[in-house]
């Protein structure tokens, strides 16, 4: 069981680290999709099937398409897909910050005495999940729906631009 987790972790970490260090932005996005599917596989491993399918559909299907469209819409020529590497000083400090955050979290997780899990893989049938969503969590569900609608309308308004933009200027 731990071997599965190790393999999943390796795939997730390697693909995301490679994705965010590559210069070609299209390849980065495709590698990130692999990393998102790895995370969905982690959810499956943990017994959260519904979250796994939501992750695969939303990230692997929707977000990846939106990102690829953004990449295509913001590139004027073939060379625009190549992002220049960051300056050395910024890269070093970013790596220090990321390493420090990861180190602190990992050290805390290792030093904290968690009770060993006694139960097996838990199962939460979709029926129970639906009852929870339609019962105690109904307010949160409605707020999320309103948020998604507002975000969709806002994204359309921002991306469509104003009349002035289309007519000219820079």
């Amino acid at each position: 069981m731990n071997l599965t987790l190790l393999l999943l972790g390796l795939v997730i970490l390697a693909s995301s680290a490679m994705a965010l260090s590559l210069r070609n932005i299209v390849r980065s996005v495709l590698l990130l999709v692999l990393s998102w599917f790895g995370i969905a596989a982690f959810y499956l491993w943990a017994g959260a099937e519904f979250a796994a399918f939501a992750q695969a559909l939303v990230y692997g299907g929707a977000v990846s398409m939106v990102v690829l469209f953004a990449v295509l819409l913001t590139g004027r020529s073939h060379s625009d897909a190549e992002v220049p590497p960051p300056p050395k000083g910024r890269l070093v400090w970013a790596l220090v910050a990321g390493g420090a955050a990861a180190g602190i979290i990992a050290a805390t997780a290792i030093r904290t005495p968690f009770a060993a899990a006694t139960n097996g893989v838990p199962s939460l049938p979709v029926r129970d999940l639906g009852l929870l969503l339609m019962g105690p969590q109904l307010a949160a569900l409605l707020v999320t729906g309103a948020l998604l609608t507002a975000a969709l309308l806002g994204a359309v308004v921002i991306a469509a631009g104003t009349k002035d933009d289309k007519e000219g200027a820079p």
Binding site: L5, S16, G47, A70, T112, T144, A151, L152, A155
Partner: protein, 103 residues
């Protein structure tokens, strides 16, 4: 190190990768992807604690992840719309060049 701790270490490393990318890269799209990775790392934690926690039948971890995925999708949509608006104004998505609020 038990399995829960391995999950937490994995999510910590993923968060670190996302943070480093968000700080280092200058392309607005890659910065957004770094933020998405950090959100995913938080989701891994929710699932791990739900899986190894004392009361998995309550389903709070899974519910929180579902809502977090919905919010992350909204964030990605608005963020990428902003990237396109930024590109329209200055013909570039380098964040160093985004120094004006009014186009």
């Amino acid at each position: 190190m038990n399995t829960l701790q391995m999950c937490l270490v994995l999510s910590g490393l993923l968060f670190g990768i996302g943070l480093a990318a968000a700080l280092a890269r200058s392309s607005a799209i890659l910065v957004l992807m770094g933020v998405e990775l950090m959100l995913n790392a938080a989701n891994l934690n929710f699932i791990a604690f739900w899986r190894f926690g004392p009361a998995p039948e309550a389903g709070t971890g899974v519910l929180f992840v579902l809502f977090a995925i919905a919010v992350a999708a909204a964030e990605a949509a608005v963020g990428l719309a902003l990237v396109i608006a930024l590109y329209r104004h200055q013909k570039s998505i380098r964040l160093q060049e985004a120094t004006r609020l009014k186009g």
